[in-house]
C-alpha cells in the first residue's frame, strides 16, 4: 500500500513540476497567441489580460495581406529544407570521419572547423560575403541564401560525438564482412542514430527558418524575401502599434517549426510502451 501511494505522490509532484515549468516555457507564446486574436483595444489594457475578449481572426488575414507572406514562407521553406539537407550530409560525413578514423591532421582540421563557430558571421561577414555572392551573380537567389550555410561545425561536432558512442565491435564486424566505410555508415551507423538525426534536423531547420540579417541583405525583391523579413516588414519600429497583426504574423511563422518538432519528436523518443515495462 505504502509503495503505491508513494508512487502516486511522486507522479503528482512530477506532474505539478512539469505543469509549472511548461507554463513558464509556453507563457510568452501563449501571450503572442492571445494578442494575435485580441481586438486591438485590449492589447495594451491594464490590468493585463491573459485570456482574450472575443476572437478576431482579421489580424491573420491582415498579416497575409500587408506583405506577400505566403510566398515568403514558401521561400523560407525551400531555403530551410536545403540548408538542413546540406548541413546534415556534410555534418554526417565529416563527423563520421572524425569519429572513426585517425588521420594526419585530424585534430588540426577539426579545430579549424570548430573555430568557425567563433566568428560572429551574421554581424561581421555580411559585407565580404555579399561581395562574393555578387561576383558569383547570386544576388537575390535561393543559392545565395542556401549554399554558404550548408556546412556546420555544430553538426560535425554533434555527429562526431554521437558516432563515437557506437561500439567498435560493430565496425570490426562490418569490416570482416567486407563492408566499405560508406556501407558501414549507411547500413549500420545511421539506423542507430535516428534520435540524433531527428534532433539535428530540427536544430538546422529552426536555425535556417529564423535567419534574418542575411536574407534581408541578399533579397532584393519581395518575392525572394523570407518569413522573418516579412515579420520585420510588418513590425517596423517607427510607428506600428498593431501588435495584434505582428503577433498573428509571428504565430503563422512559428507554425512549421512546431509542426516539424511534433512530427519528429518520436524519432528521438522511444515509444512510451517500450520504456520501463520490462522486468
Amino acid at each position: 500500500m505504502k509503495k503505491r501511494t508513494r508512487k502516486v505522490v511522486n507522479t503528482l509532484l512530477i506532474e505539478i513540476g512539469l505543469i509549472l515549468f511548461s507554463i513558464f516555457m509556453f507563457a510568452p507564446i501563449f501571450l503572442a497567441f492571445t494578442m494575435s486574436i485580441q481586438s486591438p483595444e485590449f492589447v495594451f489594457s491594464y490590468p493585463p489580460k491573459i485570456f482574450p475578449r472575443g476572437i478576431h481572426f482579421e489580424n491573420y488575414l491582415q498579416a497575409l495581406k500587408i506583405v506577400p507572406f505566403l510566398r515568403m514562407m514558401w521561400n523560407s521553406l525551400i531555403i530551410a529544407f536545403f540548408i538542413t539537407l546540406g548541413k546534415m550530409v556534410t555534418g554526417i560525413l565529416a563527423g563520421y570521419a572524425y569519429a572513426n578514423f585517425k588521420f594526419k591532421g585530424d585534430t588540426f582540421t577539426f579545430g579549424l572547423i570548430f573555430s568557425t563557430l567563433y566568428i560572429p558571421a551574421e554581424i561581421l561577414l555580411i559585407i565580404p560575403l555579399f561581395q562574393i555572392i555578387s561576383k558569383l551573380n547570386w544576388v537575390n537567389t535561393y543559392q545565395a541564401m542556401i549554399i554558404p550555410f550548408t556546412a556546420s561545425a555544430t553538426n560535425v561536432f554533434l555527429f562526431q560525438q554521437h558516432f563515437k558512442t557506437i561500439p567498435r565491435d560493430f565496425e570490426d564486424a562490418a569490416r570482416i564482412d567486407g563492408a566499405t566505410p560508406m556501407q558501414y555508415l549507411l547500413k549500420v551507423v545511421l539506423p542507430l542514430s535516428r534520435p540524433v538525426i531527428g534532433g539535428a534536423a530540427i536544430i538546422n531547420f529552426t536555425y535556417a527558418w529564423n535567419m534574418y540579417l542575411w536574407p534581408m541583405i541578399v533579397a532584393m525583391r519581395d518575392d525572394m524575401k523570407t518569413v522573418q523579413v516579412a515579420i520585420n516588414m510588418i513590425m517596423n519600429a517607427e510607428s506600428s502599434n498593431n501588435w495584434g497583426i505582428i503577433m498573428a504574423a509571428t504565430m503563422i511563422a512559428l507554425f512549421p517549426t512546431l509542426l516539424l518538432f511534433f512530427l519528429l519528436q518520436d524519432l528521438f523518443v522511444k515509444s512510451l510502451v517500450g520504456t520501463g515495462l520490462k522486468g
Binding site: F44, I127, M233, S240
Partner: protein
C-alpha cells in the same frame, strides 16, 4: 552619308526611349509600403520609360548596411531613404550625387519652395545635398479627458518645465497597495528630445556652428542649458512623475499614453493620426501643444527629424537622371500632400502647405495645425538647424547611456552630462 545620319538619329531616338531601371530603397513599413508603391506606380505611369523597383528594406540602419554592401559589390541602389542623422556620413562618403548638382542642371525644381527649416537642415554652405522627404518634429500630446478629471484645464497644456512638473503631480494615481497606476508624462528615451531642448534654448550641440561651418571637433552641450534638461528629466523620474522607456522605445511610450497610464506624451508629429485613432478607440480626447521648454527661456524653435532621399552615384548617368525624376516627383506638391495625409510627416513645401490651408484642411485637423505652426515659428539659427556630425548615432548613444545611468541613480545630472560629453568627444575624435 544621309543614310548613316538617319540611322544614328533613329538609334538615338530608340535609346532615349529605352527603359531605365532604378532601385528605390526606403524604411517606411506597415501600411506605408502600399502608400509608397501607389505613388511610385503613378510616377511610372507618367514616365513609361522608367521602371522603379521599390523595396522596403527595414530600419534606417539596415538600409545603410545594405547600401554599403551593395556599393562594395558594385550594384548600388539609385535612391535611398536615410535618417537625418546620416547626413554628414553621406556627404563625406563620396558616393552620392548632391541634389544641388541636379537642381543646377534642372531649373524646373525651385528649392526655395521648400520649407526654410527643412531646406536649412539638409543644406551646408547653401548646397542642398539630399531631398527632404519625411520630416517631423516633436510635439506634446495630452489627454484632455484625463486633465478634466484631475482638475486641470484641458485647454491649458503645460508650457514650461515647472508646469509639466506641477501638472504631473496632479495626474499621479496609486492603487490600494501604493503601486503607481497612473502618472504624468513620458517620452521615448532618446537623445533627439535632448537636442530639441538645446535648440529651444538656442544652444548648439556641437562646435563649428553645429558642424555647419566646419567639421565638428567637440560637443557643446555640457553647460547650463544641458544641465537644465538633465535636471528636469531627473526630477520627473525621481519624483515618480514620469515613466522612462528603454532606449529609443517609441512604441512603449505611445502604449503608455494610449493605455492612459500617463496623461502626457512628447513624441513625433508623425504619430498624430495614430494617437488620434487610438485615443478615439479608448474613449478619450487628445490635444497637442508646442513642447514645453525650460522656465524663463525665449522659445527658439525645434529641429526637424525624419529622413530624406539620397541619390547614389551610378556608372550610367541616364539612371541618375531617372532617379532624379523620381525624387523630384516624390517632393512635388500633390504627392507631398498625399504623403502627409497618409503618414503625418510634414509636407516639405510651402506651396503644399498653402494648398492644404486653402482646402480648409487645417481647420479640420487642429493637431496637424499645431505641429506645422511650431515648425514655421522656429527662428532659423545654427542651433535650430540641427547638428551635422558624422558620429551622430554614437553621440546619441552617449547621451542615452548617460541619461539611463542618471535615472538609475548612478550619476548626478552634472556627472551624467560630463560622461555624455566625454564619450561623445571620444567618438568624434575617432571619426574617419
Amino acid at each position: 552619308m544621309k543614310k548613316i545620319l538617319v540611322l544614328m538619329f533613329a538609334i538615338l531616338v530608340v535609346l532615349s526611349f529605352a527603359e531605365v531601371k532604378i532601385q528605390f530603397w526606403h524604411a517606411m513599413g506597415g501600411w506605408r509600403i502600399e502608400l509608397i508603391q501607389g505613388m511610385v506606380n503613378d510616377f511610372m505611369k507618367a514616365n513609361p520609360n522608367i521602371k522603379v523597383e521599390v523595396q522596403y528594406v527595414g530600419s534606417y540602419e539596415e538600409i545603410l548596411a545594405k547600401t554599403v554592401a551593395a556599393l562594395q559589390a558594385g550594384t548600388p541602389p539609385h535612391v535611398v531613404q536615410l535618417n537625418e542623422i546620416s547626413t554628414k556620413k553621406m556627404i563625406d562618403s563620396g558616393v552620392i550625387v548632391p541634389v544641388e548638382d541636379m537642381i543646377k542642371k534642372d531649373p524646373s525644381f525651385d528649392k526655395k519652395k521648400l520649407l526654410p527649416q527643412v531646406l536649412n537642415y539638409y543644406s551646408i554652405g547653401g548646397k542642398l545635398y539630399s531631398m527632404p522627404w519625411n520630416s517631423s518634429t516633436p510635439l506634446l500630446f495630452y489627454n484632455k479627458t484625463m486633465f478634466k478629471q484631475a482638475g486641470l484645464d484641458p485647454n491649458k497644456p503645460p508650457r514650461t518645465f515647472s508646469e509639466v512638473i506641477s501638472y504631473s503631480r496632479k495626474l499621479v494615481k496609486k492603487d490600494d497597495k501604493g503601486n503607481m497606476i497612473r502618472t504624468g508624462i513620458t517620452w521615448p528615451l532618446y537623445a533627439w528630445f535632448f537636442e530639441q531642448w538645446m535648440a529651444e534654448q538656442n544652444k548648439l550641440l556641437v562646435d563649428n556652428n553645429n558642424g555647419r561651418t566646419g567639421n565638428p571637433t567637440k560637443v557643446m552641450f555640457n553647460n547650463e542649458a544641458g544641465l537644465k534638461i538633465f535636471e528636469f528629466w531627473n526630477t520627473l523620474t525621481k519624483e515618480g512623475l514620469m515613466i522612462n522607456t528603454k532606449k529609443g522605445d517609441w512604441t512603449a511610450a505611445r502604449q503608455l499614453f494610449i493605455s492612459q497610464t500617463v496623461g502626457m506624451i512628447i513624441t513625433s508629429t508623425s504619430d498624430v493620426a495614430l494617437l488620434l485613432s487610438e485615443s478615439k478607440k479608448q474613449g478619450f480626447e487628445i490635444g497637442a501643444a508646442y513642447i514645453p521648454i525650460p522656465d524663463g527661456v525665449q522659445r527658439a524653435g525645434v529641429i526637424i527629424g525624419g529622413g530624406s532621399l539620397w541619390l547614389i552615384k551610378q556608372k550610367n548617368q541616364a539612371e541618375v537622371e531617372a532617379a532624379w525624376k523620381l525624387v523630384k516627383y516624390l517632393a512635388d506638391v500633390d504627392p507631398q500632400i498625399a504623403w502627409h495625409k497618409g503618414t503625418g510627416y510634414f509636407p516639405v513645401r510651402l506651396d503644399a502647405k498653402e494648398k492644404l490651408e486653402k482646402e480648409g484642411y487645417y481647420k479640420d485637423n487642429p493637431l496637424h495645425y499645431v505641429a506645422i505652426k511650431q515648425l514655421l515659428d522656429t527662428i532659423p539659427s545654427y542651433a535650430t538647424m540641427g547638428a551635422v556630425v558624422g558620429v551622430f548615432p554614437e553621440i546619441r548613444n552617449a547621451i542615452d547611456n548617460a541619461v539611463e545611468k542618471m535615472i538609475n541613480g548612478q550619476l548626478t545630472p552634472k556627472q551624467a552630462l560630463e560622461e555624455a560629453e566625454r564619450e561623445a568627444n571620444k567618438a568624434i575624435k575617432q571619426y574617419f
